[in-house]
């Protein structure tokens, strides 16, 4: 990079944006990949039920299945409610 470029550039670093976006989507897709096939449908169904009572956006719910040891799997459900509806 030349000295003139240095003064001219005030753009933000796109490579770090790319890295952040990739880290999020890759982590998300890996979770999907390792989980059972019914997980996305289960997530949608649970979302529908909750939406009957509270209006929450689709990305405010996360369902994951975690393997703990050989015997136990734990279904974890995370729902973020909007502030005013609490």
């Amino acid at each position: 990079m030349s000295l003139l470029d240095y003064f001219r550039s005030s753009k933000k670093n796109t490579a770090s944006t790319a890295k952040e976006r990739l880290q999020i989507i890759v982590a998300h897709e890996r979770k999907r990949r390792n989980g059972p096939d019914y997980l996305p449908q289960l997530e949608r169904d649970i979302l529908e039920v909750i939406r009957k009572y509270v209006d929450i956006p689709a990305d405010q719910i996360a369902v994951s299945l975690e393997q703990r040891g050989d015997q136990i799997s734990v279904l974890e459900l995370n729902v973020t409610f909007p502030d005013d509806k609490r």
Partner: protein, 269 residues
């Protein structure tokens, strides 16, 4: 025992065939009897990159169907000792490759060769799955760009669940990251993902970094694997990659911008 290496990526146009040609040629140059198999049925291109397109008589599907034997079908490379090419068929029949057929051909090749390089088609359809199914090792070709990295991660998932080794509960496929079209200048400017970024996201061992290079187009124009262009940066980077594939420790080159003179630093260029 032959080692089967799949060259794969998920995304198209990242340099799978260029890399297959370079890796196959490099292994043969190192004295290993090597065959490169084009799995891109319907879109045969390895022959062009290897410069043997006018010598194709029979193809992979002919061998599977018993219409020709391997001896008639394999094309012996004219420049490099120990190197052979098995061209893909041009058929539009997507199901021309059967798992049994592929297994039969690979088993027969394994008797004769040290390395079998499987040049995978893009995507995650049956051709790509067939190319990776029997692999012992995988070279995952990735560009420092979001869609390529994401697709590579997808393919890594397939390697660990949809391969013969996974299905039979054997030791997993050994995965190698090959970063291609790397541009250190843009990395320095913060415009391109760095080697470290991609390594961190995909979390597999790095086998090579090939710089974005004019030598690659020149090589494909003339049907000559770029690894034979030993004066070029890309050619040298592939030679280093081969050494690492064979277990040697080689420092990485071409990762940093060449130092410019004082005037260039001031005025750019």
């Amino acid at each position: 025992m032959a080692k089967i290496i799949v060259v794969t990526s998920g995304k198209g146009g990242v340099g799978k065939t260029t890399s297959s040609a370079a890796i196959g040629t490099g292994l043969a140059l190192a004295g290993h009897k090597t065959v490169i198999v084009d799995f891109d049925i319907g879109l045969r291109n390895l022959d062009l990159i290897m410069g043997c397109e006018r010598r194709v008589v029979y193809d992979f599907v002919n061998v599977i169907n018993g219409e020709a034997n391997l001896k008639q079908t394999l094309i012996k490379d004219k420049r490099t000792e120990n190197l052979f090419i098995l061209p893909a068929s041009q058929t539009r029949d997507k199901d021309a490759l059967t798992r049994e057929g592929v297994e039969k051909v690979l088993n027969e090749l394994a008797k004769d060769f040290d390395f079998i390089i499987c040049d995978s088609p893009a995507g995650i359809e049956s051709g790509a799955m067939m190319a990776l199914y029997f692999a012992d090792e995988a070279v995952v070709v990735t560009n420092p760009e979001v869609s390529s990295v994401r697709d590579s991660d997808r393919i890594l998932g397939m390697l660990s669940s949809k391969s013969r080794r996974a299905e039979q509960g054997l030791e997993g496929i050994k995965e190698h990251l090959l970063l291609t079209r790397y541009n250190p200048e843009r990395v320095e400017k913060g415009e391109m993902l760095s080697v470290e970024d991609v390594k961190e996201i995909l979390a597999i061992e790095l086998v090579g970094v090939i710089p974005e290079s004019q030598a690659v187009l020149n090589a494909s124009n003339s049907g000559q694997p770029v690894i034979l262009d030993k004066d070029s940066d890309a050619g040298q980077a592939y030679l280093d990659t081969i050494k690492r594939l064979l277990g040697e420790q080689v420092p990485f080159r071409f990762l940093n911008v060449e130092k410019k003179g004082f005037m260039k630093r001031i005025f750019g260029g």
